[in-house]
Structures are given as C-alpha cells and as structure tokens.
C-alpha cells in the first residue's frame, strides 16, 4: 500500500469532519478553530500532490495570518454568544442542505465520467519540480504569469487602503444649527444629538 494512499485516507476524514464541525458549532470561535484544522489537512494534501511551496503558504497565510485576523475580529466584536435559530425564510435550512447534496452529487457524476481513475505522470517530482518546487513555481510565475502577478500587487494595495477607509471611525457631519449650538454652549453643553 502506497504511503500517499494511507495519508489520503487518514487525513480526508479529518478534513471532512472538521469542515462539518465548522457548520455545527454554535460559537464562532470554535468554528474558527475547526477551520484551522481543516486548513492544516489541506496543507498536507498539497504536500502529497507535490506542492511543498503551497503547503508552506497555506500554513503561513491561511492558518496563520487569515485565521488570526478572523479570531481578532471575533474578539473585537464580542460575537461569542450563540446565534439565534429563528428562520426568517421558512424551510430555508432543509432546502439549503438538499441543494448542497444535489450540488455534490452532480459534480460527482461529472468527475466519474470525465476523470475516472487517472493518476497523472509518476515522475512529477523529478521532471516538473526540477530543482525544487519553489524554483519551478517561480519560473512559471515570473515568465508566463508576470502581468497577473503585478496586477495582484495593485489588488493588495487597493485592499489595504479600502480596509483602512472602511474601518475608519467617521465623525458624523453636523448641520449648521448644531454647530452653532455647539459653539455657544461649548463642548458637552447638553446639545441633544
């Protein structure tokens, strides 16, 4: 039995189980922690599939940076109480689960018909990952995908500026009458807001 086979069958149930656990936790912090477990199992799959660079990026960026951001926002908002179970749309939950199962079944049939049991080249690590995965990946990235790579940097800058603008606490615009009353009465002078 090949080692990657064992790795797959050990980590696939953990992956699916932690993904389901994300849905069933009432507490958002627990959901985030189960999501981290899921990200780690995906990193292991990247390693098996011959992508050690993405393995590192997955752990550093996803399990590290993004999930810390998530936990930080959860703590900031104090969303540690349980969410309400009131359904605004009647029958939304059963319908959602049914649609999810339908989606999965549909794509399963497609995979079965199109992929079968294809395995890909056996010498992937020697030929494609020649000189190491990071080197091979950077060869592709900086030759064939150079323009998209530069566009990504613009995207990151725009996202950073957008986050700053959105998170800024804006002073509410005062009307002229309010400003006048504020000037007369002084700060904290009992102006109804």
């Amino acid at each position: 039995m090949a080692p990657d086979y064992i790795v797959f069958w050990v980590f696939a149930p953990i992956s699916v189980g932690s993904a389901v656990a994300v849905l069933f936790q009432r507490n958002a912090v627990h959901s985030a922690l189960f999501l981290i477990v899921n990200f780690f199992t995906l990193a292991v799959f990247y390693l098996v599939l011959g992508a050690p660079f993405l393995f590192a990026v997955q752990i550093i960026v996803y399990a590290g940076a993004i999930m810390v951001l998530f936990l930080f926002v959860i703590m900031l908002l104090g969303v540690d109480r349980d969410e309400s179970l009131v359904e605004r749309l009647r029958g939304q939950r059963p319908t959602a689960i049914l649609l999810g199962l339908g989606l999965a079944a549909e794509v399963f049939v497609t995979i079965r018909a199109s992929l079968g049991l294809a395995r890909g080249p056996a010498d992937f690590d020697q030929v494609v990952n020649e000189g190491g995965n990071a080197e091979a990946l950077s060869r592709v990235l900086f030759r064939d995908y150079f323009l998209p790579f530069e566009v990504t940097s613009i995207l990151l800058i725009v996202a950073a500026v957008a986050a700053m603008v959105l998170a800024q606490e804006r002073e509410r615009a005062r009307t002229r009458a309010e400003a006048e009353a504020f000037r007369v009465a002084g700060p904290g002078g009992g102006v109804p807001t």
């Binding site: 090949a2 294809a118 395995r119 890909g120 592709v140």
Partner: protein, 101 residues
C-alpha cells in the same frame, strides 16, 4: 503517487458543498465568511490536483493567485462586517435588512 487524482477532486467537491451549505444555513456573518473561505480552499485543492494530473505547474500558480485574492477579500470583508456591526450592533445577517422589499 498511487492515489487517483479523482479522489482529491472528490474531496474538494465535498468540502465545497459543505461550504455552500454553510453559507446558506448560518446566520452569523463571520461564520458565513468562514464558509466562503472553506469553498475557496476546496477550489484550491482541486487546482493543485489538476496541476498534478496535467504534469505542469499552471494549476499551482492559479492556486497561489487565488490565495492572494482570498487574503485581500478577507481584509475588505472583515472591515465591512466591523462597519455593519458598529451600525447595527449585531453580526446577524438577518438584521441588515435595510434594502429588503
């Protein structure tokens, strides 16, 4: 590697479906966002698996780009959630119903 590529793609489909159900079922905006992350990761797994199947690295580069986009998306999305929370004092998506008909 002796595991068929379709196993990985099937796992990715399962994770994607779980993420979809999460988006549709949960009410907490943060958990909905986490489910979206789950979907993005499922697609990444499929991309890496296809990269392996075709014997080139284009799929891995695409997965790399999708990670960058996911990071940007998380930053903006969380800022919006924080903003909504400041205004409505709730992270429940049902409460943000100002545009509801």
């Amino acid at each position: 590697m002796r595991t068929p590529i379709s196993y990985f793609v099937a796992l990715s489909v399962i994770l994607f479906a779980i993420g979809t159900v999460g988006v549709l079922v949960r009410k907490n905006a943060l958990v909905i966002f986490m489910s979206v992350e789950l979907q993005l990761n499922a697609v990444n797994l499929a991309l890496v698996a296809f990269s392996r199947m075709h014997g080139n690295l284009n799929g891995q580069v695409l997965a790399f780009f999708s990670m960058v986009v996911a990071a940007a998306e998380v930053v903006v999305g969380l800022a919006i959630i924080v903003n909504v929370y400041r205004r409505l004092h709730s992270a429940n998506v049902d409460d943000a119903s100002l545009l509801r008909w």
